[in-house]
Amino acid sequence: MNKAEFLPHLAQVIEADIGTMSESTVLNELPNWDSMRLLEVIALVDEQLGVNLNANQLAKCETVGQILDILGEKLAY
């Protein structure tokens, strides 16, 4: 799965508008951004990419771009 395919899934899970979401979208400014969302992002990445994310790394992410960064090469560009 590449980044373009992954982004709509991510937008849905974090309840961001795919039209306006960008790598600079700030997670804390999203509605309902809470600890449950972290679980949902972990579940999404496990389901779609078969990767077990490092939860503490994920918890430190402040933007959408930083989530993509920790996925790194797991996402085909």
């Binding site: 804390n28 509605p31 309902n32 951004w33 809470d34 600890s35 449950m36 972290l38 679980l39 949902e40 972990i42 579940a43 496990d46 389901e47 077990n52 994310l53 490092n54 939860a55 503490n56 994920l58 918890a59």
Partner: protein
């Protein structure tokens, strides 16, 4: 069976003595904490959203005077009232708790006295959380099949609510208090098969800090000033309260649970298709749904039983078993997989051939 010297001991544990679950019961404290109450004061959390994500509609919370032994006594009284056995027949008490009445004495000893279980009975507490029921079954099986006991009272009892800050919704929304009692008895069996087992166990203490009550034990007994600190999601807790890093716990379960299930199936030389029911520790519904799909367990074989009581730690599996048997979903002879996982980290899985209700 008698041992060769003719004494009245249980014998040397003949090959034909097998441990089996005979009966289960549970007790929930009277006070109910609803989703409406959990959501009070939050902009983001609504009662419906809490249910949708956690699968919990309400949890039962012990009163200020009610401790683990009190819940345990009530669960055991219900078990005895069902007629499965009398207190005087019990020869070993295994009690799983992380919220004991006292540092010492042992809560299982209090239970022996309060229930009128004979002085000849052995009793011990063991400290495990969500994996505790599996370990308890393993210990009970060991005691019975080595001839050390014939009727083991396995009790799980927690009052985690006493560790939970009312301003920490990350844990308050999930955990509830409860106790469960399971009677594990010795029966003669001509077949080589077992009613409890095989087992798979696992431990990873590197995850200790992710589900912890940091202060209160000997490492840090008390602090002079206890201040509640807020996290980035608006939850507040002190160092004497339960802390759960939910995301980290989730990744731990993704790593360990599917592997444990596969190891157990290999050990039992069977497949998911051979199982009648699968009962995981009822952590929260979101996590359970994801694990179920990941492991490809059919929905009709997978038990979700936390809407009325929440995550009751080591009691979720016996509560789910009791309810499944009551609903007719679990019948005599059924092959059930049980999987517990959590604080420690600690996990365990076992296969049980259900004989509940038969004595």
């Amino acid at each position: 069976m008698r041992c060769e010297t003719g004494c009245r001991c249980a014998g040397g544990g003949g090959d034909n003595m097998k441990a089996t679950i005979t009966s289960t019961e549970y007790y929930l404290p009277a006070h109910v904490l609803s989703n409406d109450m959990v959501a009070v004061g939050s902009e983001d959390w609504t009662p419906e959203k809490i249910f949708e994500k956690t699968g919990v509609r309400q949890r039962h919370i012990a009163s200020a005077e009610e401790c683990s032994s009190d819940l345990a006594v009530r669960a055991c009284e219900k078990l005895f009232a069902s007629g499965c056995c009398k207190p005087e027949e019990i020869d070993f008490i295994l009690l799983c708790t992380q919220s004991p009445d006292y540092f010492l004495p042992t809560t299982a000893c209090l239970l022996q006295h309060r229930l009128g279980i004979p002085n000849a009975a052995g009793a011990l507490d063991f400290n495990l959380g969500c994996s505790g029921y599996i370990y308890g079954l393993g210990l009970a099986k060991g005691l019975i099949e080595t001839g050390q006991a014939k009727k083991v009272l396995l009790v799980t009892a927690e009052t985690y609510s006493k560790f939970i800050n009312t301003e920490d919704r990350s844990v308050r929304s999930i955990f509830g208090d409860a106790a469960a009692a399971t009677l594990v008895t010795s029966i003669e069996s001509a077949s080589s098969g077992e009613f409890i087992g095989p087992f798979v166990y696992g431990t990873d203490g590197s995850g200790a800090e992710n589900l912890i009550v940091p202060v209160g034990g000997m490492r840090a007994r008390t602090v002079n000033e206890v201040e509640a600190v807020g996290d980035k999601f608006g939850n507040k807790r002190t160092c004497q309260d339960l802390y759960m890093n939910g995301a980290e716990i989730f990744t731990f379960t993704l790593r360990s649970v599917p592997k444990a299930v596969q190891q157990l199936l290999d050990k039992a030389q069977c497949s998911l298709a051979d199982l009648d029911l699968v009962v995981f520790h009822q952590a929260n519904k979101y996590m359970l749904d994801h694990l179920r799909k990941k492991i490809s367990i059919p929905e009709e074989k997978f038990v979700i039983a936390l809407s009325n009581s929440g995550n009751t730690v080591s009691s979720t599996i016996p509560i789910a078993l009791t309810e499944a048997a009551r609903d007719g979903r679990l019948r005599t002879g059924d092959k059930v997989m049980l999987v517990g996982f959590g604080v420690g980290y600690s996990w365990g899985a076992a296969i049980v051939q259900w004989r509940g209700g038969l004595s």
